[in-house]
């Protein structure tokens, strides 16, 4: 048995290692290759290091709308989608506060089609006026569908604006306001493209039934000639430490009172991230969690409650949101939440409670790696955080978290002066339906 096999054997209890290789092109494009010869498919993922946090405060929602425009034709190819579909592929994209990601999958024999399409839109878009005009409307409908035409749809806009005074996380990826999207001009599109869509600002991940040599030669052929362009330097304002509790109350036509509370937490790359992640699971991961057992089951104050964090690259938020049982005062629900947070600061979780959330994490990490697409997305995301190999090592950081870490994290985060609270009250208090 050679050493490598021995190591695999020792760690055999946990998910298999995800093998990958990395190289860079002269223009700064980073490339990750993950070979998996059990599938006939290939995944090509291009992650751009630009998100809603890089937007001008007067032009919010732009990074996301730009993502739509990336499908409106590039300099040499009039449409993106149909050549990919002709090759048996399909694609999509998403934008967050931190990044924009484009992914496609297709039969591995047709890998080159994806290189052709992705490299051409990194080279230059067609900057079609028609595409801009149509996508403004499409994104406006997306805004309405998810944030206006939904009960509680504006809660997150309000909560972010309450918690962040300076940092661009104060607005949602979709944008602050419909008018920002409607006022976008073609010149804005061009400026944004040449500032952010550069090879050095991108990570190309290729996974599936491919070989390193093949990817090297295709990457050089299709992406190698894209000019370096100037690398974007990010200078975002740091959110000042919050020193007093913030509070906002709204009334709207919703069926139930709701509460949203948030606290500034750790960044994705902070050592405290792992205990913060496990802390939110202890509070609300499943029906055996503390918030469900105490506030839904025993005290019957909430019909649903959850705790999670935003997982963002700059320091994000830990959030608790819940809907109150009809007839319960929001203030009483709020006080009960605070009691639970005091409890975790004063009574550390016992060892089975901590082990439970670690096991849950181990399991979700393994399930995430089942699909080829997820492996490619994870590798790209980890590379953006600093090292694609976190996909293999991050579990050790979770596993090392102690009960003291959980208590200390709770003490650091769940402080009154670090909190923002939104009471979302329903109108028509006497109407049963």
């Amino acid at each position: 048995m050679n050493l490598e096999l021995a190591i695999h054997f020792l760690f055999g209890n946990f998910a298999s290692m995800i093998e990958f290789s990395r190289f860079s092109l002269a223009n700064g494009l980073r490339v990750i290759v993950h070979e998996d010869h059990t599938t006939p498919m290939a995944v090509v993922n291009v992650l751009y290091d630009v998100g809603a946090r890089d937007e001008n405060p007067e032009k919010t929602g732009f990074a996301h709308m730009f993502e739509h425009l990336m499908f409106g034709g590039s300099i040499n190819i009039p449409v993106y989608d149909s050549p990919l579909q002709m090759a048996g592929g399909e694609n999509n994209a998403y934008t967050t506060s931190d990044l924009t990601d484009y992914y496609c999958r297709l039969p591995a024999e047709n890998l080159e089609t994806a290189f052709w399409l992705e490299s051409d839109r990194m080279l230059s878009l067609a900057f079609s006026r028609k595409s801009l005009n149509v996508q403004k409307k499409v994104v406006s409908e997306e805004f309405k569908e998810n944030f206006i035409n939904q009960p509680y749809g504006d809660a997150w806009h309000k909560l972010r604006a309450l918690a962040y005074r300076v940092h661009p996380y104060q607005w949602m990826t979709i944008g602050k306001d419909l008018s920002h999207i409607e006022s976008a001009r073609l010149q804005d599109v061009k400026d944004f493209f040449f500032e952010h869509y550069t090879p050095a600002n991108a990570i190309l991940t290729v996974a599936g039934n491919v070989s390193l040599d093949q990817v090297k030669s295709l990457a050089e052929k299709w992406f190698g000639e894209i000019p370096v362009r100037k690398k974007y330097e990010r200078h975002l304002p740091e959110e000042p430490v919050q020193t007093e509790a913030r509070f906002l109350e709204v009334t709207a036509d919703v069926p139930l009172d709701a509460i949203y509370k948030c606290w500034h937490g750790f960044s994705r790359t902070d050592a405290g991230f792992y205990s913060m992640d496990l802390l939110t699971d202890i509070l609300s991961g499943g029906n055996s969690s503390r918030l469900y057992q105490s506030l839904v089951k025993d005290k019957k104050l909430f019909s649903s409650i959850s705790c999670y964090h935003t997982g963002s690259i700059d320091p994000g938020m830990v959030v608790i949101e819940g809907k109150l049982v009809r007839g319960i005062k929001i203030e009483d629900g709020d006080a009960a939440i605070q009691d639970e947070l005091e409890k975790i600061k004063n009574n550390p979780p016992d060892s089975p409670e901590l082990q439970k959330v670690k096991n849950g994490t181990e399991s979700s990490l393994a399930f995430e790696d089942v699909s080829l697409m997820n492996r490619a997305l994870s590798l790209a995301n980890y590379e953006l955080l600093g090292d694609a190999n976190y996909i293999n090592t991050e579990w050790d950081l979770y596993n090392a978290v102690t009960t003291d870490d959980i208590v200390n994290t709770a003490k650091k985060i769940f402080r009154k002066e670090n909190s923002s609270t939104l009471y979302y009250r329903r109108k028509n208090q006497n109407n049963y339906l």
Binding site: N13, A15, S16, D36, P40, M41, N76, I77, Q85, M86, A87, G88, E90, P107, N110, E112, T113, W116, S119, D120, N133, V134, Q135, K136, K137, V138, V139, S140, E141, E142, K144, E145, I148, N149, P151, K221, W222, V254, P255, L256, G286, N287, S288, S289, V296, K300, S304, V325, R326, P352, K356, N359, T361, S363, A366, F367, V370, S371, L372, L433
Partner: protein, 425 residues
């Protein structure tokens, strides 16, 4: 310098041999069939217990869903908390989804904990006691969840379209109201569990990785259940629609309309079904479809528009669904009918059909990526009394259907007068 104007050479995806990998079957001593597909690089497993215990078998609305939620909230030996904690301690998830015809209980876990978790699933399937306090909690909270959903135009539109098509008393068309949840009875719930779980019609589907004692473990935990009772789907009648076109307003300040246009369609064993699937892809079944290209990508009326064939056992439907700006909703509806009409008058051009063939074969290939996806296919086939020939027919139809055949199917089924129309703001 590559020639960027020219697409790289393709292997036509249509040239791929696409085969459904095999699924093993054994019968446990209880005569419960166990189907399994072993494979994958990750040490994880998914096991599904599928019972014929969907809404169609209930006498009062909301009972089947309540049983699916409550049978894991207390047994003769364990409280709801202890049950949740045991699944969660091992990092597993155990979900029950209640559909029209059956309920799917799905366990996802690291393979190394199967032995700890199977006895618990057995306990839930044989010894659920439905405690009073859990029942009251469920009733209170499901009423409140429903109150929130009734404010969502998409949810209301989906329910109303079911009722318009199938009738309010038909299992596919009935909708649970707040009043039905108020009236839920624990006696009904216990009876339903006895009849459809304890004395149920069960099949088990497992996929992923496991040790060689897996079948023994399954036999040990489920081999003595007295549960091989074959349940026949009750006959359900559809009625002539009372309303063919409806406009509902649930929020006078709403900024979008949820549009649903649908017709009843023959079930998936009908000879036209597979052909209609290809036609549906062209019509509104993928991002390059006619509906999406016209109504989203050309006119910007919506964030997304889709057409789909539902996969019910008895009756299925062919529908179109979109949320569009309130002020452009009527324009969107008229474009939907225009696209329908165009498919009934003009043959689909060869190039578009070739693209749809290639795209669809690529999707089918990807749909076989790993044991979970392969089992999704098999579960669908087995629950519908179909076999791999049906899969082969799917591939054959995608590869060989002609523009003439598509036109014929369109003429037969895409007649605007056969579709019901609903708009909810």
């Amino acid at each position: 310098m590559p020639d960027r104007k020219k697409a790289p050479a393709l292997k036509e995806p249509n040239a791929y041999e696409v085969r459904l990998p095999a699924c093993e079957k054994i019968e446990l001593k209880s005569q419960v069939p166990l189907f399994y597909v072993k494979g994958g690089a990750e040490p994880v497993v998914q096991i599904e217990w599928v019972l014929r215990a969907g809404n169609i078998f209930e006498n009062n609305k909301g009972v089947a869903a309540a049983v699916a939620a409550l049978f894991k909230r207390g047994t003769g030996k364990k409280s709801a908390f202890e049950i949740s904690r045991q699944f969660e301690f091992f990092g597993a998830s155990f979900q029950a989804v209640c559909q029209a015809e059956y309920v799917v209980l799905s366990l996802e876990t690291l393979s190394k904990y199967i032995g700890e978790l199977l006895p618990l699933v057995r306990e839930l399937l044989t010894d659920a006691i439905f405690p009073d306090d859990e029942f009251e909690l469920y009733r209170q909270n499901s009423i409140q969840h429903l109150q929130v959903y009734l404010k969502k135009s998409d949810f209301v539109a989906d329910r109303e379209m079911g009722t318009m098509l199938f009738g309010r008393n038909n299992p596919y068309g009935k909708k649970t109201a707040i009043a039905d949840l108020d009236k839920l009875s624990l006696t009904d719930i216990k009876n339903f569990y006895e009849k459809n779980y304890l004395d149920g019609d069960l099949k088990i589907f497992a996929s992923g990785q496991w040790d060689k004692d897996f079948v023994e473990l399954m036999e040990h935990n489920f081999g003595d259940l007295n549960i091989g009772n074959k349940k026949v789907l009750p006959d359900v009648e559809t009625q002539e629609p009372e309303i063919r076109k409806n406009d509902l307003v649930i929020d006078s300040n709403g900024v979008q309309a949820s549009i649903r246009i649908a017709r009843i369609f023959p079930d998936k064993k009908h000879p036209d079904f597979q052909k209609a699937l290809v036609l549906n892809t062209i019509f509104g079944g993928y991002f390059g479809s006619r509906l999406q290209s016209n109504i989203r990508e050309d006119k910007g009326y919506t964030y997304g528009i889709y057409s789909y064939l539902q996969f019910n056992l008895k009756y299925t439907l062919w529908g179109i669904s979109t949320e569009s700006g309130k002020e452009v909703a009527d324009a969107a509806i008229s474009e939907i009918y225009k696209e329908m009409d165009r498919l009934t008058k003009e043959e689909v051009p060869q190039e578009e059909l070739q693209l749809v063939r290639n795209y669809s074969i690529g999707r089918q290939l990807n749909g076989l990526d790993g044991p979970f996806r392969i089992m999704d296919w098999w579960r669908m086939l087995i629950m519908n009394d179909l076999d791999e020939k049906y899969f082969e027919e799917r591939i054959r139809t995608i590869k060989t259907i002609t523009p003439g055949e598509l036109l014929e199917v369109a003429k037969k089924y895409l007649k605007p007068e056969d579709f019901l129309e609903l708009k909810v703001v």
